[in-house]
């Protein structure tokens, strides 16, 4: 029992001890644990702080990286291994226009430009397959707006546990570089294409004289059998030795090549001749890069054609230069300021200067005499307008002498058409000028001679006609002296001979006139039928006693007045009828007139003169109108100048008509001519026809109260005086012009017959004096009497103010016709002059005498001459002056009771205003003057009456 208790006690002790032991251990452990816990807590706190710090650090780092990623131009993106984007940096929107969200929904292939997709896919598949850590590639992508952007991209595989997780890539926009590369490539392609296709052989060598570039043409030029590519790398020195044989001068070629290589100076356009006749142009261009010699470029162009063309131009130029220098023309080029640009050899010779002395000088100042400088100025203006011109002038040579030159000046324009100067081609005229002067002298002498001849002819005709006139005139008068039968016979012969002589001289003079072109057509209204009848009458008388009748056959339509040259027509008819008369023994002569063509304003009339005479042989028909050809077979009976028909033809031709002849030997001849006439708009009195009339006709009463005969020749004085006495016309004789003027001042005449050639004062001067001074005869008709048949004399007479013209010798009929024509018709029509408008005078003056006397005196002394002056104004056709005069004179007429003339003056004013024809105005003036003339005696009487009271 005790044993058990001991055992229990021991157990208890052991248990208790173990418990205490365990408690101690636990205590230690607890403390240990506490300490450990404390340490852990500290550690934990530390750790937490560290974690916080690290996290903050991490965030900052992340922030930095993000900023970095965002800020770099490069795009960083990630894709899953199947190619979907899983991350992209924000820069994507700027680069491609896609937002990050949009981008992240895309597969990388979708943005690749079609055409590059498979290649790129293969590239990345290979990368994945080979587990390449990273690589770089370039490809184009399509931006959202369709733009193509070139991307350069480095991709990196991200692996973990031997597995590819994703790809991270850095992509960069390389478009600019690509563009530059493309541009560079294009340029390179272009350049190489250019060189390949250049129309020149090109070879580029490096600094070691190895070929680095050559084109086909180069090979062709030098007959190199290889292709250009095969040539690359060859030694150029060797090649040169091989081809030198192709040149005309091989050694010189090599030498030149070496020289060029030595100098390394650009050299272009050197020409080299080849043995095959081609010409090459060589350019040597050293290639320097930053002053470092890198080789050279050789360019050979085949310029054979150009060379030949140039040669041709050169030769041609030489040729023309030769021509220019050798021809007689001196060429001078000047600028717009007349400064000499160039002087050709011949020009220098002409002027005595060398070209050096001329170039740069002012042409006008150096060469042109003062008096010709305006010519140059004028020409220069023409050049400025772009036109050429030629002119003559003198130039001063270096030695001071002058030469005459003909200059042909042309403007010179530059390639833009701007006038830069002019070229003068000078021809030395000096010799020609001398010739010209001689010629002018000769011409003047000839002219003077001709004038003298003309004068001589005029004088001669005067000298011949004047006595002839007297002879004819006297023979006429002799008939009135009751001659015996025998005397009459003698007078007859005398008259016939004189007539013949007269016609002979007339014909000669006419022909001379016609040939000198001095015969003019003077159309005026005339009575055609009257003219024909007159002709008939003239010949009826002539043919009296011969078995020849003369008839006139007229077209019924030919009536009234025609406008034409009646004088010429008369002469034609006279000639033709006279001719018929000569060759017709018996039978008849017939004058016919037919209207051939009738128009509103004019007509053609065919006249024919037929006879039953001897006729003209057919073979001679062509000769009849030729001068000095007489075709009558016997030729004895009929004398003549042989000019009659030739003159006739000329007269027809001058009027624009035609004449022909038909004839049958033994049966007769028919001369037919056609002439144009204008139709007269108004009927005129049949008074203007100049016709021959027998002296018996002169017995007609002519109201010619007083005629002034101005004639120095005694015989003519007697002839005219005899006729006037016979016609009972009072006349006053003046021996010369001076006396005539004096006579004209003293009294009024109805007509003045004025000889032209007179001593002291000739007829022209006298006429001018009468017309231009105040005298009663200022406006009376003045008829020129002249032995000169010259037409120009007639013209002078008209200009001097004469009214008509009578060529001596004239027969009485001609003179009578003139008297009839110019006789004061009022006197004939109405011998009682109109009275003054007494009623008007009464109204104006009443019983006053002094005032009207004063007015009448004033009118006669001052107004009348002014009225006479109207005619001169009229002739001068100074219509405005005439209008002013008419306006001024009109009331003065009323003041002296000439109301009807006042009205006439008013009408004149109206006509002037209407711009009426000259003839009408003249008629009014003449009427007014005539009216005043008529009234002068009445006015004088009135004045006397007034002064007596």
């Amino acid at each position: 029992m005790d044993n058990n208790i001991d055992q229990l006690n021991r157990r208890l002790l052991r248990e208790k001890t173990a418990r205490k032991q365990a408690e101690v251990i636990l205590e230690e452990k607890a403390l240990e644990l506490y300490n450990a816990n404390e340490q852990l807590r500290h550690l934990n706190e530390n750790l937490e702080q560290q974690i916080r710090d690290k996290l903050a650090e991490l965030r900052q780092s992340e922030q930095r990286y993000r900023q970095l990623i965002e800020s770099v131009q490069d795009i960083i993106f990630k894709t899953s291994t199947d190619g979907h984007f899983t991350f992209v940096s924000p820069g994507i929107e700027q680069l491609l226009g896609y937002t990050e969200q949009e981008f992240l929904q895309m597969h990388f292939l979708t943005i690749i430009q079609p055409g590059y997709r498979q290649k790129l896919l293969d590239f990345y598949l290979l990368m994945l397959k080979n587990r390449q850590d990273s690589n770089y590639t370039e490809f184009p992508v399509v931006a959202k707006d369709g733009r193509i952007v070139w991307i350069g991209q480095t991709a990196r595989l991200i692996e973990s546990d031997e597995e590819v997780l994703e790809l991270v890539a850095v992509a960069r926009d390389i478009s600019d570089r690509k563009k530059a590369e493309t541009a560079l490539q294009t340029t390179q392609t272009r350049l190489s294409t250019l060189i390949t296709n250049l129309q020149s052989g090109v070879m580029v060598e490096d600094e070691n004289r190895r070929v680095i570039l050559v084109n086909q043409l180069f090979c062709d030029i030098f007959d190199i059998p290889t292709t250009p590519d095969e040539l690359i790398g060859h030694d150029c020195g060797e090649a040169r030795e091989q081809v030198k044989g192709l040149f005309v001068e091989p050694d010189a070629f090599i030498e030149r090549m070496n020289e060029l290589l030595q100098n390394r100076q650009t050299c272009v356009g050197e020409e080299i001749c080849m043995l095959n006749g081609r010409i090459l142009e060589l350019d040597y261009i050293p290639i320097l890069l930053d002053d470092k010699y890198m080789g050279q470029l050789w360019r050979y162009s085949d310029v054979t054609e150009k060379y030949q063309a140039r040669e041709q131009i050169r030769r041609s130029e030489e040729k023309y230069r030769g021509i220019m220098n050798n021809m007689e023309l001196g060429l001078l080029e000047v600028d717009n300021e007349q400064n000499i640009m160039r002087a050709y050899e011949r020009c220098c010779n002409m002027l005595g200067y060398t070209e050096e002395e001329l170039v740069g000088k002012n042409a006008t100042e150096l060469l042109v005499p003062l008096e010709f400088q305006n010519v140059i100025e004028r020409q220069q203006r023409q050049r400025e307008e772009g036109s050429a011109g030629s002119y003559e002038l003198q130039l001063i040579r270096k030695d001071g002498s002058r030469i005459w030159v003909l200059v042909s000046g042309v403007p010179i324009n530059d390639e833009h058409g701007v006038l830069v100067g002019s070229m003068g081609i000078h021809y030395d005229l000096s010799e020609r000028k001398v010739l010209e002067e001689e010629l002018a002298m000769a011409k003047q002498i000839a002219e003077e001679a001709r004038q003298a001849e003309k004068q001589f002819l005029a004088n001669m005709s005067h000298e011949i006609r004047t006595p002839l006139n007297a002879i004819i005139g006297m023979s006429h008068l002799l008939f009135d002296t009751q001659p015996s039968r025998q005397q009459r016979e003698y007078i007859d012969i005398l008259k016939t001979s004189a007539d013949f002589l007269h016609s002979l001289i007339s014909d000669l003079l006419d022909m001379t006139k016609i040939e000198a072109g001095r015969v003019e057509v003077h159309p005026r209204p005339f009575d055609l039928v009257g003219l024909l009848r007159a002709t008939q009458k003239v010949f009826e008388m002539k043919l009296e006693g011969r078995p020849v009748d003369i008839d006139v056959m007229l077209d019924a339509r030919i009536t009234g007045d025609f406008i034409g040259d009646d004088v010429m027509l008369n002469q034609i008819l006279m000639n033709l009828v006279g001719n018929a008369d000569k060759f017709t023994e018996k039978g008849n002569i017939q004058i016919t007139a037919k209207l051939k063509q009738d128009e509103e304003t004019g007509c053609w009339i065919e006249f024919s003169v037929s006879d039953t005479g001897i006729g003209i042989p057919a073979e001679k028909l062509d000769l009849v109108f030729q001068k000095f050809k007489q075709v009558n077979p016997q030729g004895h009976k009929h004398k003549g100048t042989g000019l009659g028909l030739a003159i006739t033809k000329e007269l027809v031709d001058i009027q624009g008509g035609s004449i022909s002849v038909k004839s049958q030997i033994g049966e007769g001849s028919v001369f037919t001519f056609t002439l144009p006439f204008a139709k007269s708009p108004v009927l005129i009195e049949a008074k203007a026809v100049v016709q021959s009339q027998t002296p018996s006709a002169s017995s007609d009463v002519v109201l010619m109260r007083h005629v002034l005969v101005v004639e120095d020749n005694l015989m003519n004085q007697k002839y005219i005086g005899g006729l006037l006495s016979k016609w009972k016309i009072p006349y006053t004789l003046a021996m010369d012009g001076k006396r005539a003027v004096e006579e004209a001042k003293n009294q009024r005449f109805d007509m003045i017959l004025m000889d032209i050639q007179m001593p002291i004062m000739d007829g022209y001067e006298a006429t001018v004096a009468i017309r231009s001074t105040h005298n009663p005869n200022q406006h009376v008709p003045i008829i020129a009497l002249t032995a000169s048949a010259m037409l120009d004399h007639k013209n002078i007479a008209m200009e001097a103010g004469m009214n008509d013209f009578l060529t001596k010798p004239f027969d009485p009929g001609q003179l009578m016709a003139l008297f009839k024509r110019y006789a004061p018709k009022v006197s004939a029509d109405d011998s009682e002059p109109k009275a003054l408008d007494q009623k008007r005078l009464q109204e104006l003056y009443g019983t006053d005498k002094a005032y009207p006397l004063e007015m009448f005196d004033l009118f006669l002394t001052d107004v009348v001459p002014e009225i006479y002056g109207l005619q001169a104004i009229c002739r001068a056709q100074d219509w405005s002056l005439l209008a002013r005069k008419a306006h001024k004179l009109k009331p003065t007429l009323g003041m002296v009771g000439l109301s009807w003339l006042e009205e006439k003056m008013e009408e004149l004013q109206k006509k002037l205003k209407q711009g009426a024809e000259k003839e009408i105005i003249e008629q009014y003036c003449t009427d007014i003057i005539t009216g005043v003339n008529q009234m002068i005696p009445v006015l004088q009487k009135e004045t006397q009456k007034l002064s007596q009271v």
């Binding site: 055992q7 021991r10 052991r14 032991q21 365990a22 452990k29």
Partner: protein, 179 residues
């Protein structure tokens, strides 16, 4: 040596032979600790040798057998005290394989001064496991018992062949083949 090895041994002796034997062992053996043990204390392992040799004398059972029995007993104790380790796995091999790399790791966390044997486990096939035991304590028989306890716990049977790789028994190879 950890106190638990002493306390469990004394528990097993008390269970098998009553406290008298325990008392006598403690009293008769001249033990430096005085025979007072607590599971959380640490004692000289020579005391264990002394106790086991004394027990062998008293019970006439050879020391290796005693140690095997004590191994089996000890495993059961473990299944109570350290249940989570056992429940983690579903087979004996799995547990055995985790001994060195897991269980001992955890033990050392709790008792840094614990002296533990070193095991090298290999499993050549599904039903075959080899465990190389290495320890200066030369307690391979105790390990043997623990292995048997483990197999028994999972209701498995296996042939365990034990072979000394060195004569002193400090390195021993267990060849376990499930049957």
């Amino acid at each position: 040596m950890k106190g638990i090895v002493f306390t469990e041994l004394l528990e097993m002796i008390e269970d098998q032979y009553g406290y008298g034997l325990v008392d006598s062992l403690l009293t008769e053996s001249n033990l430096p600790s005085g025979g007072v043990y607590t599971a959380i204390g640490t004692y000289d392992h020579a005391e264990m040798i002394t106790l086991v040799d004394k027990l062998s004398l008293k019970t006439q059972l050879p020391v290796p057998d005693l140690l095997r029995i004590y191994g089996r007993y000890m495993f059961r104790s473990f299944t109570r005290g350290y249940r989570p380790f056992v429940d983690r796995v579903d087979s004996a091999f799995a547990l055995l394989q985790s001994v060195h790399h897991h269980v001992h790791v955890e033990v050392r966390k709790l008792y840094p001064d614990a002296e533990l044997p070193h095991f090298t486990v290999e499993q050549p096939s599904e039903n075959h496991l080899t465990m190389r035991y290495e320890s200066e304590r030369k307690l391979s028989d105790f390990a043997h018992g623990l292995i048997e306890g483990c197999l028994s716990h999972f209701g498995e049977t296996a042939t365990i062949t034990k072979r000394n790789l060195v004569d002193d028994g400090s390195i021993v190879l267990f060849d376990i083949v499930k049957t």
